[in-house]
Symmetry: C2
Subunit: 447 residues, 2 copies
């Protein structure tokens, strides 16, 4: 990946302007870190080789270790607690990926788990919903200012895809607009994969560039009365690139445009939900969508997704068939209620921002001592950091590997996640380890 120079992200900041990109020759695959490794991953490797025989790709999807450094990353987890987890080799990690987002109040949070256990003692999956479904719908519609109704499912994709159908049903139009390079799930209309797709899957999709309000408006002009909905994440979070925050006025412009043109504005808050504001990311950025989709952090890892929406779409929402074998299960709903209330009570989002700032500012500062300009982008609760003016992505891979073998799990090409369980002493320990990692990459790759 060619390196980019990006602005350091601040809340509600302007869109980063791109510096000219220097193309760099791709070097050979990264060597395993040269430093003495405190951690080894023999049992992970053994399980991976067993898995390769009976699972296509051994570990598929977003948890695939294909982008990490062989021999320097764990492949299988064994247990977890608070901001820590242990892999199958017994190595302990401070976790900066949080299960790729679901963990938000700490692994095995005692309050959330107690609520789930109490519900599980009664049961989970019946012929009917339970009172938990009604309570959670009431709670979310109270919590989220624009929300008049809620539905529940199991995957982010379940609700993002369903929302596009609701937009079509509500408008009688076909076209859905999304941002180029955005992730909205693994269904054919939006998957980042290529396998098995046919032209029809995306025949009614339109694409615009993040922060390009004029470009979005041009699509509406080009396809008058044909655009059913616009689906967007709260900020642009591609893999392999800087995160881009909305330019000032961008979201408000998008909202007005959708309103004016009669299109449904769908917020995909699957990744960011509850990490920018407990009321949803539209609250943080100051706008209101028509439907918002949640998953990941909503129940601290219990299997739940949700969509909430405006009253004007309730009839359309009733008309789009929505179901799954376990969708009315009570346990994840009880967990979600406990989890969100705990975030509110302990002001978890503010704490995450503090921890994220400590981490990002600390990494930038420690990098400077080695002559590196580290670039942090995105909100600090969902940050991405990399080497500035980089011509060699292997440096970042090696740096993350050096952190990981020292017990600080991070990812070289995907945004990180901060949780409410991370504490200043965790961040301090990681900054010290980062210094060691900077030493190694300096020695191995130079400036």
């Amino acid at each position: 990946m060619p390196a980019k120079t990006a602005k350091k992200a601040t809340k509600k900041t302007a869109a980063p302007k791109k510096a000219p990109v220097k193309k760099a020759a791709v070097k050979a695959a990264p060597k395993a870190p040269a430093a003495k490794k405190p951690y080894t991953f023999e049992k992970s490797k053994e399980l991976f080789l067993r898995a390769a025989k009976v699972i296509p790709g051994a570990i598929y999807g977003h948890q695939s270790p294909v982008l990490t450094v062989p021999g320097s990353f764990p492949y299988y987890a064994a247990k977890a607690e608070g901001p820590y987890y242990w892999d199958v080799d017994g190595n302990k990690f401070i976790d900066y990926m949080c299960g790729y987002g679901p963990m938000i109040t700490g692994y095995n949070n005692p309050v959330v788990d107690a609520a789930a256990r109490a519900e599980q003692a009664n049961g989970d999956c019946y012929n009917h919903p339970t009172g938990r479904m009604v309570e959670l719908a009431e709670f979310l519609t109270d919590l989220i200012p624009f929300a008049d109704w809620a539905v529940f499912a199991k995957n982010g994709s379940d609700v993002t895809t369903w929302a596009t159908l609701v937009a079509r049903e509500a408008t009688g139009r076909k076209k859905i607009v999304m941002c180029k390079g955005e992730y909205h799930g693994a269904h054919a209309w939006c998957t980042p994969g290529h396998g098995g797709l046919i032209d029809e899957d995306r025949a009614q999709m339109l694409y615009y560039k993040w922060n390009d309000l004029a470009g979005l408006r041009a699509l509406f002009d080009r396809y008058p009365d044909q655009i059913a909905g616009v689906i967007m994440t709260p900020f642009h979070h591609p893999t392999f690139a800087d995160l881009e925050l909305p330019a000032p006025g961008f979201w408000q412009g998008v909202q007005k445009l959708c309103n004016d043109k009669g299109a449904v504005l769908i917020l995909d808050d699957v990744r960011c939900g509850f990490r920018l504001s407990v009321k949803g990311s539209q609250d943080y950025f100051g706008f209101e969508p028509d439907i918002s989709c949640y998953c990941k952090a909503i129940a601290n890892g219990y299997v739940l997704s949700a969509a909430v929406g405006r009253d004007s779409l309730k009839n359309a929402a009733s008309s789009v068939f929505l179901t799954g074998s376990y969708w009315n299960g009570a346990v994840p709903m009880a967990a979600a209620l406990a989890n969100i209330k705990l975030l509110q009570k302990e002001n978890g989002v503010a704490h995450m921002f503090k921890m994220g700032e400590l981490l990002m500012n600390g990494l930038i500062e420690r990098g400077k001592a080695f002559g590196y300009e580290m670039i942090a982008s995105g909100p600090t609760t969902i940050p991405f950091i990399h080497f500035g003016n980089e011509t060699n992505f292997m440096r970042m891979q090696t740096w993350c590997a050096e952190l990981t073998v020292r017990g600080h799990f991070c990812h070289p090409s995907h945004n990180w996640f901060i949780s409410a369980a991370h504490q200043p002493e965790d961040i301090a320990a990681t900054l010290d380890a980062a210094e060691e990692a900077f030493k190694v990459v300096k020695k191995e790759y130079g400036d």
Copy 2:
């Protein structure tokens, strides 16, 4: 629904020939049962009215009570144990829907729940899979004769849809064939709903009629080298109609046709899996698909689905992106291992067949005493029963309502499910209650 006369189903039997269908005028909505009701549903009603304010449709999808009789069915569950559950009004039911399939070894099965609890004490949703994923993939590929690999997800739809993409990837072809009226999930290519669909969703779908091998062959002739895959359930289980078993030689003919034409044969075993044979329904009917999809009963209600397939499709399977926020979660995989092993150890499938036969034969016999010819179709572990030569579907609704208000939960228009937890005394109690229900419908609707 016009009534049909169908053959009583037997294992591996011939397809039922249709008797001429008498069209009947539709009467007014069924009255609430006239008999004194032992059960009332005030708290269910109260929750439903609360839900209607904040949830589109109040209860959506397959658990919608729209087809049941208001005032005579519970809408919300509170707890469960073995083959029983209690609703929010404190009413206890012997359950013949089993959560619409997921419950198979009994609600809150102590063995399955202990395995899940032990895993949950470590954690569930991490940055990586756990050893449970490898163990479960190894276990399923050992258990299911044709299976060389396994993948895991959260909904039946996740794996049925993914399987169609694998078929497209493997063959480079576009078209998917399915049976008219079959249920393969809630995604746009197959949902029974109409809301939000566009023509493109089904532009590459083809349809044939169950048991019509010649019709299926004609599709292959009409679209040479264009059919990527054929997706089928083990037997035809439409809603509102008799279940139809495969005609002798039908499955073997389908398998040969797919093999000859280079199309991928996908078995959707989501509803039937583990209720016909613990090795999958292809084992019961004597054929082998290329991919098989599981959900529902695989983990006794813990949130898991799976697909297994042949080695020849492993590369294609690796190429179709497959992921979800919670898909590598350890708890449902631990539950699945315990659940399937328990079914094996206690010969649960044979027990279910015995209980199902007791129930279906008993209902037919008790009906006769009232002059009713009850028609049972499908395997007795996933049976459907209704009044023969029926011109008035309300009789069936009222009969189920009368059973339900007496503590025997059943559905008037969807197949029922038997579990390994049902015992002869449960069936005996239900048969006695059915007699009472027959009395009521006889009085209310006559012959």
